[in-house]
Amino acid sequence: GGSSSAGGKDLLKVGVFLPGSTSDTGFMQSAHLGYERAKKAHADTAKLSMAEEVDPADYEEVLTSFASTNDLVVSVGGQTDADLRRVAAQFPDVTFVEIGGPSDAEPLANLAYYDPQQAEAEYLTGAAAALASTKHSVGFIGGMELPAIVNAAEAFGNGAVAAVPGTKVLKPQFVGDFNDPAKAKQAADADIAAGADVLGQIVNLGKAGIEQAVRSADARMIGGPIPGECSADSPYAAYIRTDIGAEVEYAIEAVLDGTWKAVQEPFGLTSDHDATELTFCGDDAEAKTTLEKLAAQLADASVTAY
């Protein structure tokens, strides 16, 4: 890594790698929002650059060229893990952070793992869904069948049952693509036809499809990871905020003030980063208390998400 160029004063050069689209209304966009915030906040201490929408075949090339021109490389999304580990090994004097990687991965000397713990978040959305459901039947729609998503789906079920025992939880659906609304819609249609009236999701742009499905069947869904506004006619029963951007900011700050450590850093409710937060729409007081109770239980680890 050469922290030499960048005209005159010596800025921290940061490369943020977003393999997906920064306008996917999901994981990547949330990370991108953090990137923008950090860019403003550290305008005079750090120089940020980013890459979005990269083909799996090209991960390694992008990471390599990032590593050879930056001091800190933040790679967002578990799918980059294999390449990132190899590149990190090749550039010992560059710092690497992977967001959303396998939560059991071994950190390297120069590679830390930040875990958004979507599972915990989904435990809450499951609960919220169950509380909002009138038919006591809920479903979950995920994008790709990645471990993080599979676990989240399981947590969603656990949460639902924990909040309203006896709730019917449909088999989670994985449409194979986070950004295909047509497929997400069909999956949602199928779940609704199977009796569910509130749907949880981790499908970025796929949300648009689910939205159509629930609107036309007056069912409801859970929003997130980027929170929106609750309103009467909105099909959203609740929003979960899973702030990936917070982790990008945290990484940069950590390196800037030298507190960066090569560890597995959790960002869920159990952590003190408050990157996760659920907003339950409507004014059902006891539902909200139930949710707070569950959140507390997660925080003090008296229950596990999955």
Partner: protein
Amino acid sequence: MIAAILASGLGFAIPLLVAATGELVSERAGVLNMSLEGMMLTGAFSSVIGAVESGSAVVGLFWGIAAGLALGMVQALASVVLRADQIVTGLALNALALAGTTFGARLLFTDRGAEVPGFDGLDLGAVGDLPVIGPALGQSVLAYVLVLSVAVVAVITSRRTSWGIAIDAAGEDAVRADWAGVPVNRVRFASVLLAGALAGAAGAQLALSEVHTFTDNMTAGAGYLAVVAVIAGRWRALPTVVATLAFGVAQALQYSLPAVGVDVPTGLLLMLPYAIALLATAGLVASSRAPSALTRPFARSATGR
């Protein structure tokens, strides 16, 4: 559940049907449009832009059709005028449409939250509650309009009309059709434009009726399926319709099976529509033959005998 499968199956089948109808005419006239996929995608893309810009779904529809026409124009230029290789240019146009719309989406769709005006499903009241078919009927206005216009096209281009005969003649043997006084290349050009317009409309249907948004590569192979539907339908109208429905239902099964708790690996479900398409072609096509001049360009100066 059956009802649900039918409903969402139809939702997927209608765009296929619309696109396939245009492609059927074009292939009967002797031009194969691999670019159907690209036409649909571009149609979806610009229909959304149109709808957002104008705030009216109908305007959006027309933008979609216009975009399909534009791509059809390019394909026709390549296939008919320049006599280029239809398969390569088609695949190239698909690549172009995919990259182009992705690029455009980056530049234009910065605010994903924006409301996209679209066509909502009809509320048919009592009809909608019919057993089995009820839900399937709750399609959008646009869907009904499209299916109707497709039917009209099918009638106008049937073997019973002069147009139909001319189209078949151009696709069976352009030289002799020309000798008989049929303006072969004009017929072909028009057919490709028709395919483009309908594919554009199909894209609009996908974007404005189904999901009210555009996402990169949102057609995800639907265009290819439409082409296959024509072949599986042995270049005849009704079998083609059946094929599109079959593909639609196959797609729907993909999600209905898990919903009812049947545990099938995602991979297998992803294969389903294409596997069915393959079996269909393998099972049916052999018994028929394609228009003899399919993918063969025509130029009068070259027919000196």
